[in-house]
């Protein structure tokens, strides 16, 4: 993938963000609050955290909010009116400061939501969203992007990738047409970026396992109930991993209201015990070990086969957020390294 390179100083970057805001765009970016950094709507560069390793949540909410209205309805006097969302009214959004792994995750989300029948709400949000990622200058023991095809300075998925060069300048790689359009009219804020190298500014993330060995490893282990029970015995079955995950997209549909109301889409998780429960009481996955296996199978086996994209980008969020330290890297490595 070829990208056009420019450089931009910190003050010019602050100006660029304020221009986006003046143009009516919303900016979703990492913001520090107490000991946590998480995505929030921001007004200026000052509010944005750039020195953290990773945010608690992923930026998926920009395209797949935790609750969103699919449509509203009015049901009275034997008549029902369904009012569709005005997709044209969805706001223009810049997701700023997401990591290269997060940008790659949008590719997985696109594959899910537009599989066969396009999801119009997701697609409309996507069309109005630009991804301005910031490369990673630090990583921690939970990061494993390089094991799943990414990297701390990978450009795939981003519209623009910025790298802090450490001398007050950011290297701006304009990856997509959307990224190029985004900078129209702001050319004066940039200088040529040719010759500026980002490699020395990037975090080192060692490859932790051989991806090629994961799917065969999963297939070999599939019926080994003791193995999955061993991995998942301490798992509590909450949805923290799924909800902070940048690619997890399971959802529920819920109606609210009476005469007037809304049909809502909201996040859900295959880790919940009731996720697959039939009304009859029959549950296809009654055990937490089966639900844990489903999580890994879905990401590392089913999605690659059906949607042609891996369901994990190695951001490490699930491991950091897990109340009981269900470290996904450790578990996937154990699967990849298991002897045939």
């Amino acid at each position: 993938m070829e990208s056009e390179k420019r450089s931009i100083g910190r003050e010019a970057l602050a100006e660029l963000i304020s221009q986006w805001r003046s143009a009516g765009k919303r900016v979703l970016a990492p913001k520090r609050s107490g000991d946590k950094v998480d995505f929030a709507w921001v007004a200026s560069l000052e509010e944005i955290s750039l020195d953290h390793v990773q945010t608690v949540q992923s930026p998926k909410a920009a395209l797949f909010p935790r609750v969103e209205e699919l449509f509203s309805f009015r049901s009275a006097d034997g008549r029902v009116e369904v009012r569709e969302r005005d997709l044209g009214a969805l706001p223009e959004t810049v997701v700023f400061g997401l990591r290269p792994c997060d940008a790659a995750a949008f590719t997985a989300l696109k594959a899910i939501f537009n599989w066969d029948s396009p999801d119009s709400l997701f697609s409309a949000r996507l069309a109005r969203t630009t991804l301005v990622a910031v490369a990673c200058s630090s990583a921690d023991e939970y990061c494993f992007c390089t094991s799943v095809g990414g990297g701390p300075g990978a450009i795939a998925g981003s519209d623009i990738l910025l790298t802090d060069l450490g001398d007050g300048d950011f290297l701006a790689e304009i990856v997509s047409e959307k990224g190029r359009l985004m900078l129209q009219g702001a050319e004066a804020l940039f200088r040529p970026g040719a010759g500026r190298e980002k490699e020395r500014c990037l975090a080192r993330v060692e490859k932790a396992f051989d991806l090629e060995k994961v799917d065969p490893g999963l297939a070999r282990r599939f019926d080994d109930d003791a193995f999955w029970a061993g991995q998942s015995l301490r798992c509590l079955g909450c949805g923290a991993c799924a909800y902070v995950c940048p690619t997890c997209a399971c959802f529920d549909i819920q109606d609210e209201g009476g005469i007037t109301g809304k049909r809502l889409r909201c996040w859900d998780s295959c880790g919940f015990g009731l996720f697959t429960l039939h009304t009859s009481g029959h549950n296809p996955r009654p055990l937490q070990s089966q639900r844990w296996r489903q999580r890994l199978m879905h990401k590392f086996s089913y999605m690659p086969e059906r949607q042609g994209v891996l369901g994990c980008v190695g951001c490490g969020r699930c491991s950091r957020a897990c109340p009981v330290d269900m470290n996904i890297l450790e578990h996937i490595r154990a699967i990849a390294e298991a002897r045939p």
Partner: protein
């Protein structure tokens, strides 16, 4: 973006309500917008998401045959929030419908074969669509045998249609109720479906079997069919995994690499044997 939003339901008017059994009803639905109705095509085996606005959506197969045009029917048991709300509706009230979704019973491939339908309890509705479909095209198929069981006589659904099938000389109908579920004047068999099937011992040669029922009935019926010589690829069933979106996105019906809503709901026993036992 001119395509219809996948989550926007068609508005359907309830044309007729039929009480089938305790807490089991059939709704006949017609499109409120006639243009939408004219453009609507489905094939037997497909399902949809039916909704009561303010309560939510519920997944059922389309229980009527595509050969009967101008309406669709669904049959459901009142059990949860949405089915309770559906059960409270009366003629002329409006419900939502999204669909048709999923794959179909390959009835074209079954031409010239004998057909054996085996159903239990509230699982007759998906079968009813395909039964009427082949009966409406009767000359394309050879022997048609229907084995249907329920817990009690009262729980048998489509009683009028069962009578009609029983009266036809081109259909062999065997009905059964669980031991203790019979009434004094019960003329049918007494026993569980797999045992009745075993006793009936239909020939497997050139025959396709379609099995729909609760998981426990399916579990014990497959071995009987295998003993009778049915190949796994000639046994069809329809899975009823929990679903929300119906279009391969919400993740709920994912079973192994399959999405029941897109790759199913119709599967052969050969396919089930390759799937994890998560249905």
């Amino acid at each position: 973006m001119n395509a219809r939003d996948v989550f926007k339901p068609f508005l359907m008017r309830i044309e007729q309500v039929t009480e089938e059994a305790p807490d089991v009803r059939t709704l006949r639905l017609v499109f409120q917008n006639e243009d939408e109705g004219r453009g609507f095509i489905f094939r037997t085996g497909q399902f949809g998401e039916y909704s009561v606005f303010g309560e939510g959506e519920c997944t059922f197969c389309i229980a009527s045959s595509p050969t009967r045009q101008g309406y669709i029917e669904c049959t459901f048991r009142k059990a949860g929030r949405v089915t309770s709300a559906l059960a409270a509706l009366e003629t002329n009230e409006i419900v939502g419908f999204r669909g048709p979704y999923g794959n179909v019973f390959p009835i074209d491939q079954w031409q010239g074969k004998n057909l054996l339908f085996i159903a239990g309890g509230i699982a007759l509705p998906p079968m009813r669509s395909v039964i009427w479909n082949v009966l409406d095209l009767r000359d394309r198929y050879r022997d048609v045998t229907i084995v249907y069981g329920a817990r009690t006589v009262a729980d048998l659904v489509y009683k009028r249609e069962l009578q009609e099938w029983a009266g036809r000389d081109d259909v062999k109908l065997v009905t059964t109720v669980d031991p203790g579920g019979e009434t004094p004047d019960w003329q049918g068999e007494i026993g569980f479906v797999p045992a009745v099937l075993d006793k009936l011992a239909p020939a497997s040669h050139d025959t396709v079997a379609v099995v729909c029922g609760p998981p426990v009935m399916i579990k014990f019926t497959f071995p009987v069919l295998a003993r009778l010589g049915f190949a796994p690829g000639d046994i069809y069933t329809t899975l009823e995994n929990r679903m929300k979106c119906g279009v391969g996105k919400c993740g709920r019906c994912n079973t192994g690499k399959y999405f029941v809503c897109k790759d199913g709901p119709v599967f052969t026993f050969a396919q089930l044997q390759e799937m994890p036992q998560e249905y």
